[in-house]
């Protein structure tokens, strides 16, 4: 996938996955890389930005002798996710046309 497109899609993806329930860095990373291939250096800045925007709240828990940071969605994060969803629904229409090939008679694959 194009790097720019990936960047744009990463934020709603992170919000949605965390919105599904509190999670921690590695788990989140695994779930994302199952969907799109990204490196850790791309994910960390997104988490940091969302945290700075107060979309995420974090708590650090000791786990097997080291620290594990959990991320959860805030009210603001939920709002942001809702905005992303609206945008993506619009995008869906575009995708539908593009994948059908754009022709009037194209009925999809």
């Amino acid at each position: 996938m194009d790097a720019q497109l990936k960047k744009g899609i990463l934020e709603p993806l992170v919000l949605a996955l965390i919105g599904g329930g509190e999670t921690y860095g590695y788990e989140l990373s695994e779930r994302i890389s199952a969907i799109i291939g990204i490196s850790e250096t791309a994910l960390y800045p997104v988490l940091k930005r969302l945290e700075a925007q107060a979309c995420l709240e974090t708590r650090t828990v000791e786990y097997r002798g080291r620290l594990r940071k959990y991320y959860a969605l805030t009210e603001q994060g939920r709002e942001s996710l809702a905005n992303h969803v609206r945008e993506l629904v619009e995008l869906e229409k575009v995708i539908a046309v593009v994948t059908r090939g754009g022709g009037k008679n194209a009925d999809g694959n």
Partner: protein, 357 residues
Amino acid sequence: MPMGINGFFAAAREGLANLGAEQVKEALSYYEEFAAEALEAGKTEAEVLERLGKVEDLIANLRSDASISRAETAPGPGTLTRAAHGGFRRLAGAAGRASIVSAAALPYLLAMALYVLAFVCLLGAFASVAAGILAFLDVSPAFPASKVGAAGIGIIGVSVFGLLAAGLRFSADALARLTLGLMRKGLGKGGPAVPAPKSRRRGRGKALAIAAGGAFILGLALVVFSGIGTRYFSIWDSIRPADIATRSGEWSLSAIDSIELSTLNSDIVVMESSDHPGTVRAIYEEPDWMRGSFAIGGGRFVFREVSNGRLPFLRLAAAHRGTTAIRLEVPVGWKPGRIEAASVGGSVDLGPLGGGK
């Protein structure tokens, strides 16, 4: 064999050694947590390293982030340059970000230009201090009021240049923040731009503006009430001074072989007259900031107009034409052996004694 995970973090730590500790710690602890979890979940070192990416990229990005944050908290030409160095390189590397590069380049260049101008104005403020001191020294002790006025010149200069420097710096800082904000947007980096420590800075800026305004008014008052302001204005606007002392004299032709006339900005006029055969007559209008003196000896008739020490930098101001004159009346047909006449700002008309200058 490429470096292991421990080597990766050792290299990262080394590369980031001189950065802000908190930011580095936070970022590295995230990556370390990730690596530990991944290994625990059964991934191989190679797999983990692949996910971590190149350590050079990690270092470069964190460094650049840190320099952007630093420039945001303490904007200035140095921090902005460092932030821009890494920031623009990363933006240029990111495909499709050309528009952001060009959008950020304009405020960046403007900010740097304003920083330079602010620096020039700061130099101007220092130069004004020097000018004030020189002006003070240039005034004769016989005119204490003018000494005060000379100090006023320095104060005006300092306040004007100081305020300009502060205003330009303030604008440059605002542009720097704009640049950094655009850069962050382009890089998709964390959060809102760090809000400037407004309350203190603004308070300081306001206090500075009030102080500079006050100093300007004080300086202006000193210049005006000491009288040097109006005198300068007379010279500049070619207004005939109110206080003119007329000096005149008559000298026998037999004692005069050569004539030397020099003025600051009084006009030099030589004319023929049949009223007083056998003598040269001179009439000089002397403003109260100059002194004109006649001297005769050894066949030389000499007139010199110099500053009497009331106006600082009179030689500079004198380049502007004045409204007073030294007039020399000579008998019809008479010529001295030699005549020399020069004025800094006034006109020279030698009439019958030469073609003028």
